[in-house]
Symmetry: D2
Subunit: 343 residues, 4 copies
């Protein structure tokens, strides 16, 4: 099956036409490998235009790579990293953060994927006590794995708490564009301006083929990043092809338009199915994901036509994701199908 | 500087038109992420057609990722891995193999990048002695980092020795297509048929944008590979774009034509410059690299026009690489330039 | 201050006289290093007499070393290890398990330090799903860090569940002798006979100077242990001095007498203070620890005379430990002091 | 076989009577665990009296633990550590340094176990080049694994070179007392005064039961050591027993007398056997080891009576070690035996 539309994940989608075009245009002659090229310089410039000049920008292959290299750079192996129990770094990276950073990951239970100072402060202690992993990083996901969004104020509360404790804040921004779109804010408002330290900026889930950026807002801590990236197998040789994609993504507001569309399509789907009595929406639909409990017997029927993932088997909770290329027609088709099936 | 031709590395080249075309064609609709898609199945089929059906094939982002995940899968951290001191895993991966496998890398001095049983057997001992890292892998590079090539007989001698000692043989095949082209042999002749255990099959240096394959010839050892790949940050979500590239590379003998061209261009360059008295060629030109000692004063002059790497500063030894897209005109221009400069 | 009696920890105590005598007696002439000696053979024989012949016994320096080497031997880095959130491996080893095994530690909340199948089963899933760390070990502490004890039936339920899921059960037995004494059972009843796979057997907290044993009940999994131990820095050269201690500990029931005394002294202390209104005992006193909430203002007053640790600052909960050398007089003195202070 | 005298290793010997006495005397009442005790303070004071006040001193269990924790503290995983190919960290620690530091170990061939700036400088390059492990530590062994000794001038040349390149010098001093005795110098002359950065100070091979010290001469780099020690499983709970041993070792010049005796006995053995025609001494006898090539047929005959290790099977080279408790009578007996056997 080569062609279909699904609601499985925004990474099932393909490459945005403008981004593919940028790749094609970059495919001329030779470029110096490993980032010392025209396209990388141009892409970094675009990032600085959006986030301010006082940042360091590096490109890697994928989200796990971005998270792991970012975290490695700002930790020693005897540190701990605190995050929501639903965080990608906690449940979806097969232990890569522990393996590569050597750190302890401390998962915190939340109801909506968002941690707060109140929820985590019990783990921010034991400083100087050699028997305990020393707390060093608070990692949040924006937008969260449950589709919810941190406000700038919520982030600021976390960064203030972290910095007061000599800790860093990492943001897993695999879907940060969706968060900005949802908040109707600039990317700068939810990163630079709320004092985060390092960001995994997602490209793949927002219309790129591959490629994520690691952005340091605290330049002192980025000094060794290039060695960490290389040793973590995340340095691409033909860097221009990631860079060209990022330059295109950040041009003409494509990053925003893509995110806005996927958010809007999720909202539309929500509107069209929220009244189906047997569907119980479990999280606020703030970005491009819908989490819902539906009777188990319908799941496999729906999956036969539309592939998607079961989120929590015990609860019969599923996840539907829209993406930058989801159309109103896709939503109409899918919601009609759901109305027909779930009766 | 966006457009130029260099002799710095085959990874400075761009993407072969047929491979780019395959990417573009794959860019329709949605595909299930992480490899459960049409393109991945098709690419694996192509590999089996070339190497036999009794293999396991997995795709990763880059060469360091391929080497490290392959080695992790077949070792425990208390093992040692023996290789040439010039091996990519020893000198060009910023310690990724040690960091991620935990193993000791034992480098062996060679004159031409090729190890032999004689050269390594002093390190294959101490089995059962807990104070020593236990020898487990012999890793060779084909073609080598010095452009030389192992014959099938040479490989067979190494695999026989390894298997007699309950060890595995890994081949770093970042340029294995160049080796096959040089030997005028099938890929199967220098892999499956000489009993190697695991191969890093290079795509990027032979005309792909990104993507390498890890191929296990001994299926028992591949069981856990998928976890190792994920935990090592080497699992791409939009797998179809690597797979489509490999399918194209392995179709219409593009892998071979590309390799043949780069080998031929190196040979041509060699013929055109071998008589310049002040250039001393230091390695046999068997594939697509030329190693030469040239007086230091000329190096920066040449680098100003043609970017390339100094191989050994102490010896004033440089490396020139041709690639799949090097043309006779490129060689003519470069050799004329060299003749004019080095006088 | 060289001489005092405290209730801080059983590892504040010294060496039992019989064990010190064994060290002195072993101090004659030379012994082959690293375990190929008379004393090690004799100590292993004693372990087999207690636990059955079908075990593999190895000695290490300390408890963290025992846990980490045991866990490393039975895991790959992409595995997860499930334990109580209060487990020593989770909170008191500065992340050594994550760093050295590479695994994810999944902490489970309990009220009394004891995990159950019900509490952990939500984490035993995702087998075959490469995005998740693969569950491989359930680690329990016997007696627990909260002084409570697993019955043989409770352990059996866990080992059955584990083995059904192709997982192993590790027991952190830093205080396993206290557990056996508390249950009035043989060591074999709570290890071999309930099918645990590997045990960290504690010596230091029960009257030894240093030294713990790692015991494999499933011999197939111990094959590589000696390399893991050496690579984890836990192989002592002058092994006879650990072995001689263990031989003494396991002779004349010293292991049991020591544990019985410390348990009895904790019970006695409990009886003498349980009616102090402002002391709220928070855990059952089943072994040699007492956990109690006491008004904050008394803590530093008591600590000035008797050093001990605050267990949970937020709750004003403290921990008092008795040890093999605690006397009735010590308890009388301490309880009188408490009665005088906490008014 | 409980009692014998061998020439296998100085770690086959037992505990010096004065050191054992110190252990016995320390065995009174309770002491706070993990180093906050009277004995540790006293031992550190002794070290400062010998080496100067500007040092940080920590105790660990064994030599591999000392080396690995010292190296971990001063490196990042993307660094390389340069040492003689005969170094304990390279061949006798089962890859613990690679596993725990993540660094690349670069072994350098020497004839006598001693590296020089000339021998290593080819590996001190590539600074800033992310593809190469970044050189950070030069590790030397004093006295070397081949029984030879670095003069202060030789060390100074290495530390100057290292510091000029922003690198550290680590000394594996498992037998540093033998080196000082051999040079007829103070410990300070070959450590503090020649600007080394960190020292693994050996206790076990010089008459202790267990225990080594890690000493930082550059206090800025020791800040995180206590976490590294704990996470590396090298923190003992009943610290007083290591500390009391060190205090005894450093009192009444026992460290020196022990080293002098073992050195003297090696010299004596050398004098008594150097004229046996079939014994070819291969290294200068500067401390307590004798390396000799002897015809293979004699080796097993001698080993039957006196256990020792074959150093290099290919060359039929063996190693005999004397220790602090070797007597002239032992040497007489052994040399007579050798004269009788090797005919």
């Amino acid at each position: 099956m080569k062609n279909f539309k699904s609601f499985a994940s925004d990474n099932n989608s393909g490459v945005h036409p403008e981004i593919l075009k940028a790749i094609i245009e970059a495919n001329t002659g030779h470029s110096i490998a490993y980032g010392d090229d025209y396209y990388t310089e141009a892409a970094i410039k675009k990032f600085k235009a959006l986030l301010g000049n006082n940042i360091d920008v590096y490109f890697v292959f994928n989200g796990t790579g971005a998270n792991v290299t970012a975290l490695s750079t700002i930790t020693n192996s005897y540190n701990s990293i605190i995050c929501a129990e639903t965080a990608h770094i906690n449940v979806d990276e097969c232990g890569a953060p522990e393996k590569i950073t050597g750190c302890k990951i401390i998962p915190v239970h939340t109801n909506n994927g968002k941690i707060t100072v109140d929820l985590i402060k019990q783990h921010v202690k034991g400083f100087g006590f050699e028997h305990h992993s020393q707390p060093k990083v608070i990692s949040i996901t924006q937008s969260t794995e449950l589709g919810t969004v941190y406000t700038p104020e919520e982030i600021k509360e976390i960064t203030s708490f972290a910095h007061k404790n000599n800790m860093f804040v990492h943001v897993d921004g695999a879907r940060i564009c969706n968060a900005a779109a949802s908040l109707n804010l600039n990317l700068k408002d939810i990163t630079t301006d709320v004092d985060i330290d390092v960001l995994s900026f997602g490209g793949t889930k927002n219309g790129m083929m591959y490629g994520e950026a690691v952005i340091f807002f605290n330049k002192n801590i980025a000094n060794n990043y290039k060695y960490v990236r290389k040793q973590s197998t995340q340095l691409t040789s033909k860097m221009r092809y990631i860079s060209a994609q990022f330059e295109a993504l950040l041009s003409n507001n494509i990053w925003l338009k893509n995110a806005e569309n996927s958010n809007k399509m999720a909202k539309l789907l929500f509107e069209k199915i929220k009244d189906i009595p047997k569907i119980q929406i479990t999280q606020k639909v703030e970005t491009n994901g819908i989490f819902a409990i539906i009777p188990e017997k319908y799941i496999s029927i729906i999956q036969k036509k539309y592939f998607f993932y079961i989120w929590d088997e015990d609860k019969s909770e599923i996840r539907w994701m829209t993406s930058y290329d989801t159309t109103e027609q896709d939503i109409d088709n899918f919601s009609s199908f759901l109305h027909n099936v779930i009766v």
